[in-house]
Symmetry: C2
Amino acid sequence: MNRATECLRRHQNEHLNWAIDLCRMPSISTQDEHKPDMRRAAEWTRELCARIGLEAGIHETGGHPLVYAEWCHAPGAPTYLGYGHIDVQPEGDLSLWDADPFEPVVKDGWLYCRGAADNKGQVLLYVRAAQAWLETAGKLPINLKLLIEGEEEIGSPNLAPFVAKNKELLKCDGILISDTGLFEDGWPTITTGTRGICYKEVRLSGPKHDVHSGDGGPITNPANALARIIASLHDEQGRVNIPGFYDDVLDAPADERAQLAELPFDEGKYAEEIGVPGFSGEQGWSVAELRSMRPTLDVNGIYGGYMKEGANTIIPASAGAKLSMRLVPSQRADDISRKFDNVIRSRCPKSVRYKIIDHAHAEPYMTPPGSKTLEDATRALREAFGREVAFIRCNDSLPILSMFKQELNADSILLGFASPNCNAHGPNEKLNLADLNRGAEAVARLMGYLGG
Amino acid sequence: MNRATECLRRHQNEHLNWAIDLCRMPSISTQDEHKPDMRRAAEWTRELCARIGLEAGIHETGGHPLVYAEWCHAPGAPTYLGYGHIDVQPEGDLSLWDADPFEPVVKDGWLYCRGAADNKGQVLLYVRAAQAWLETAGKLPINLKLLIEGEEEIGSPNLAPFVAKNKELLKCDGILISDTGLFEDGWPTITTGTRGICYKEVRLSGPKHDVHSGDGGPITNPANALARIIASLHDEQGRVNIPGFYDDVLDAPADERAQLAELPFDEGKYAEEIGVPGFSGEQGWSVAELRSMRPTLDVNGIYGGYMKEGANTIIPASAGAKLSMRLVPSQRADDISRKFDNVIRSRCPKSVRYKIIDHAHAEPYMTPPGSKTLEDATRALREAFGREVAFIRCNDSLPILSMFKQELNADSILLGFASPNCNAHGPNEKLNLADLNRGAEAVARLMGYLGG
């Protein structure tokens, strides 16, 4: 293991050049004009994998191709699947960038480029670690499979079908993903869970046309009725007031809460940052807990009647709201969806009509605590960074995790190395090279521990 | 009196021609290009008044001129002020009209033209009745003052200042207005009250920018908070839940409720007409009562966050609602405004900021029951139409009534003759000539009764 990590150090400049070469390709998956760049990036990645000694191929999908590579010559050793992506977000407003978004710049220990952090620099960690083992030991301590897609930034439309069709190929004991971030620069971090989502739109219809508000009194105003329904969706304690909503919530374990409480988080500074005079939410949970460990119900948009400047005296014909619920392990989106619909049905007055539109479902995910894989990852990160690991949850959704669990019956470990200030999706995206190199060492060590 | 009403019958054709001549002028007060037409209509009206024997003049205002005419040669007799307007609404969508909106057409007993019902045909009733009395008796039974403005359709911005400056000129014992409608064609009707309005906009602000809904939990969502506040504005019984809101409500007298209950009103047909599956509202009041005798609180518009197609996962930076309260006698708009503001202040969570915008205030009005003027009007209408009078309330606001009350300390009687199907403000506006002629007789009779 020490030889492998030393080898990684020797190759640091070469590996930086890999990242630079890959970052230079404008592989923007959402823009048709970049289809050739997507293919070029896939080809480049396949070649790199093959060059260091993996068996690698391009797989066509209905959209952008994906790269699959493997080294499976360790009979009896466990098999792990590394997942990542080589597509990137569009560059956005060019005037906000200090340099060409696709001309990588190394400055003060950071690599600046669109895609550096999300996810090109990180996906290459698995290739770097594999190279180090193959070069120093002639073999890997585990069977390694790499699944590198080109559609993550457009919602991975072809990933689930590919996985479903290739279950045997992708069969594994666990999944490693480095597409998340550090709690702080230099602080090794494992993301232990993500929230799911159930996104609904509720529309209430009253009169067939807007009615003069002078006729108000007997007419059920759809906007008032909608407000009443939305208000009913929380109780006085800030909990979501949908029968059965919390039935399947796995309360975060006491040690996870204790660990989160020890992580520095300045509520006052956060309030100032987003510009709010205070916080609210379910009683009995801290701000940090509320935004990651607890489920939510938020209006994302609300509309109805006269919405322009000034006044217009009407009872609106209709009003609607877009409502999303963030789900936590182990709520299920379809179950919550059904419970939500039931509540709307029962709370909508008979004097208006309602319609519910489903926008998005994604399952929450939690890495099972106490597994050997998690212990190995914790140890590898601690050793590579020289610091205790922070365990956090991701507030947002990563639907592929529950998909992997369902299709491959394998759990994922999220060990990401992007800086909290990496500006993924924004201008001047950047990647801290010291943390990236520590990440490479962590992955190499992890392979060692997983194998033995 | 009989001679006067016979005289009216003899003049019916001539009087129809007055209406046709006045209707032909496109006196649209809101459009600058029609300023000359406004002046022409005022001049024409002044000349007509002078021709039949009134002293008449044009008065300049900050906007369109108004016509004031009087005959005050009945010492000892009471003085009444007739109010009306000669400006009209724009014609709107020409393709919806069967003919030129400003080329009057007489067909099947109706006069079709923009302004026929609202208010040109009706304002001329006072001139017609005065002519009949002057021609047959050489004098009027009362002192008559006519105030005919050209800005009613734009909210009478210069009327209140004119009245305030001319209190002595306009001094009177009562005010007669024919700018409302009949309960049904051929059914004489007095409108005994109008609702006031207090129109507010409430905006709640949370984060300084929209925030990713993945951060939801501790952040007070302005749209959820707004819904909660709006929901709190009604109680479970459908009453407005603002402390003191009903303090000054004069409950409609039992006889008025009994009379209203006897008027034909088909709730099912009304529901079908406006397209609602049912009604709601304050318990203990009928649909007809709710829409005229009771105060309301309705959302006219609501907005916030992502309002377009599809889904966007944000916690909105802000959300707002336009809310109007219809007021009934003797609520006061400023008092209700203050009570509303207090409620918003006390119910807005500390974790968001609120702002209240005032859009409109107008006082409710009720003709005092039991006055001699009201009795005389009832008798005159009953005799002219040969049918018992319907007493109804107007759902909408007529702010000039409380202004007249305040400035002149005089009460108004609303005896209007427009058909419920007259399409005022819409295409193919029309006036039933039989009802108009009965109206002329009613006004002539009323002058007689008022005079003694």
